[in-house]
Symmetry: C2
Subunit: 302 residues, 2 copies
């Protein structure tokens, strides 16, 4: 009889990461396309990507989180309403199957604030609950987590339950604006190098200006009137957007003294700079470890 | 001997409008591509578009404003520094020629505020000075003009001189965000119809929220959690962006009691709704008339 194993996966809009595990340890990793960029349908892609593993081993279950559970993903799962504990959430996973292998897909989380504003996440909650499992001190009293990305998620926790959520579309806005007419001059430098002066100027503007739309044009005016480079302008944009996000959290009365971050290292470092200038201490957790720990919660509950 | 005539033109990023005039009256209008969308070079396009007029009449001069004077346009002109009067500006037009016909291109205006923020315009200043010519009461004391568009320009005047300028990239941001992932669901409705409830909700959010990036995600959450349509989401976005612009002007202490607007009618009506809710009276001037009156100032100075 073949070796028993399970497959864990994080299937977001842009990427799919799959891990093969034996006896609780990761043995192999495989990457695929995100739900937003599929050539075939999601079930077919998952069948193809897991075919070799399913032939070689006895796969008891495939556990997925993220946009796999969105409409148009592999199989739609609902949202668990906040406040939500890890058990509330893990117990609400949805079940389907591909090629006779059971597939369990974690739910998202939904939050409605006192003013009736709705917010949602799919995928980040897995990292949040995984972080709580790896760092139980985060479940004592209140904590704030920041998961930067295309859509930056600020998550508030109280006693280990998710009690609040606010999404800032900072990353998407950066991507959209980088291709806009504001950056049309001298646009050759796409190196991603940070111009420290531009970043600092954007950060100062984002902290002090009353809003974004009246500050963004400076990216272009700086190029036209001060001989600034495209790299300066993009760094100005980055500093402006991040500082504006932090300033909004502050004005909403939601900026804590300490933030736990889960995300890509370079982006977290930029947030760290901006948060430090606002007097906020930060620590960075490993996002792969948090994702796996969260997926294990669904697995354990299954 | 053939009839003497002149050609006036407004050559922006998106469109070129040319008017043929005899004895001070417009006889014909012709439209072409903007500087940002040229197939051939600018000089060639202008030669082609004016060929019939140049053969039929004795064209004394072609007078242009807008991006025709930008780098990469027809012929680069400088910026006149604010504060600037109509005479300061009209006297700084640049001269070139196409096919032996003299061409005069109006300058832009540049402004640096007390905090060292730079801002510029090219084209709108022609409408501003044209409006002053058509409505001399705007030159008495202080006045504020708003020229909405891809880049919305707020212009302050004192005694008929332009003393301030602030650009909001509201229109460009609307265009970019309309194509973003926030509006990916139910995206079929591109009718441009305004959902009044969505517009009002966006307007309320833009007036009260501390910034944009934390409010934009509601466009998506409203679709996912409240069954809102794509038309609702786009109208929410429109209301949010316009109200945010007006709120920024208010926070900057730059929002007056009355604003004179020059721009596309439908867009000005949306601004009027938002400005009225902030207690600001508005009046709308005809933009073609203002442009022609401004171009005549350059012509008269030539």
């Amino acid at each position: 009889m073949s070796i028993r194993a399970e497959i864990l996966g994080d299937w977001g809009t842009s990427n799919l990461r799959l891990w093969l595990r034996f006896g609780g340890a990761v043995a192999e990793r495989r990457d695929g396309r995100g739900v937003g960029a599929l050539a075939a349908n999601a079930a077919q892609q998952l069948r193809d990507l897991t075919a070799a593993w399913r032939e070689a081993y006895d796969i008891s279950v495939i556990v997925l989180c993220g946009m796999a559970g969105a409409r148009g993903g592999l199989h739609e799962t609902g949202y668990v309403e906040c406040p939500a504990s890890a058990a509330d959430w893990a117990g609400r996973a949805a079940r389907t199957e591909i090629a006779d292998t059971p597939v369990t897909i974690g739910s998202g989380l939904a939050f409605r604030d006192r003013d009736g504003r709705d917010d949602v996440m799919r995928g980040e909650e897995t990292q949040v609950f995984g972080a709580l499992r790896l760092h139980p001190e985060l479940a004592i009293g209140r904590a704030t987590m920041l998961l930067p990305g295309t859509h930056s998620k600020w998550v508030t926790l109280d006693g280990g339950r998710v009690t609040g959520l606010r999404t800032f579309i900072t990353g998407e806005l950066y991507a959209l604006l980088s291709r806009s007419s504001l950056f049309a001059t001298g646009g050759a430098d796409e190196s991603g190098h940070t111009d420290e002066e531009g970043f600092a100027q954007g950060m100062a503007e984002g902290r002090n200006a009353p809003g974004l739309t009246g500050s963004l044009f400076q990216a272009r005016a700086g190029q036209l009137r001060q001989g600034r480079s495209a790299a300066w302008a993009r760094s100005y944009l980055s500093g402006l957007l991040l500082a504006s996000e932090v300033a909004q959290m502050q004005q909403l009365g939601m900026l804590p003294n300490q933030v736990t971050m889960i995300g890509a290292h370079a982006l977290c470092e930029r947030y760290r700079t901006v948060l430090a200038s606002a007097g906020v201490a930060t620590r960075l957790l490993d996002d792969e470890a948090c994702t796996l720990a969260g997926l294990e919660l669904i697995l354990a509950h299954d």
